[in-house]
Symmetry: C2
Subunit: 155 residues, 2 copies
DNA sequence: TTTGACAGTTCTATTTTAGAACTATAGCCT
DNA sequence: AGGCTATAGTTCTAAAATAGAACTGTCAAA
């Protein structure tokens, strides 16, 4: 597979996988949502090699997920901030956290609890239909070819 | 990083990443949700090498995402069916598809459109709070340590 | 002037993945 | 019987990605 052009496939899942489809990238994004912003902080909390961290940050900047922002002029130092495009990855991360909570938990209970500031309660994320508001299940969804379809790819 | 024990980390995201955190696995799961079930069908639609496909299917079976079900006795042949645990990955896949639609689209429009059979409309998936039903945004969520927390890991 | 913090880069060794060929079982055709 | 096809894998070598450790450069503080 040509991973270098995966982001141009006529499949939205493939295009997303091109960006977040590896282990480190998802863990780096987790840290971003936990307000980690600096190279050393990512490196020490993840135990990722500096080389790989550098590569992944560059890639995330290239895709417009993170912005590299100077926070010190002398010496020049930068931190990495989620863009709106990056913030929009939140449902993916939360869906993964929720699945892990549900299916990969152990006897000790959840590692983290999430509070919705808006309503003040501990919550789980639920995926619903934008039209009727009902929770979504795979079997209730029918897939149609859209205008950007080509060949037999899909998702 | 010890990827072989990532599924035991005190972090639900890590545990999920241990299962679906690579490119091929997510693409294989896409095919599963499109009703692909057989080795040859996965292989020809994804152009994955037979070796890797075999490895990934074994891993998904090991984690209880797919069930290997015989569909022919002589010769013995098997197909791969999503378990409930596998079906529950749907929100992750849909969240990724939606992000791809929103942020990685091209001028030709979406590759696929999704119809909610329950209400009959074309929809987008929306992640909401289980308690108040409002759409979730990263900035409105506050994270607390849960009972399964240990050390500085999180998500 | 030496040490430490920070943000990387460079190097070699190990692990993973790609790509192609090979194995095994059995039905169908002649 | 002998060969062709379909299906579901396994095995092999080469190429690519990752791990792990050491190194670079800038500046501040001791």
């Amino acid at each position: 597979m040509k991973w270098d052009t995966l982001d141009e496939e006529p499949c939205s899942l493939s295009r997303t996988v091109a960006v977040v489809g590896d282990r480190w990238t998802l863990l780096i994004l987790r840290e971003c949502f936990l307000r980690v912003r600096r190279f050393e902080a990512f490196q020490s909390s993840l135990q990722i090699t500096r080389h790989l961290l550098s590569e992944r940050l560059k890639k995330l900047v290239r895709f417009g997920i993170l912005r590299r922002v100077p926070y010190s002029e002398a010496p020049k130092r930068y931190e990495y901030i989620l863009t709106q495009k990056g913030l929009d990855l939140y449902p993916i991360i939360m869906a993964m956290v929720h699945w892990g909570d549900t299916h990969m938990g152990d006897e000790r209970g959840r590692p983290l609890l999430h509070e919705h500031k808006t309503c003040g309660k501990l919550f789980d994320p639920v995926m619903v239909c934008s039209e009727c508001g009902e929770p979504l299940h795979a079997k209730q969804v029918h897939v149609h070819a859209g205008p950007g379809r080509r060949g037999a790819d899909a998702a």
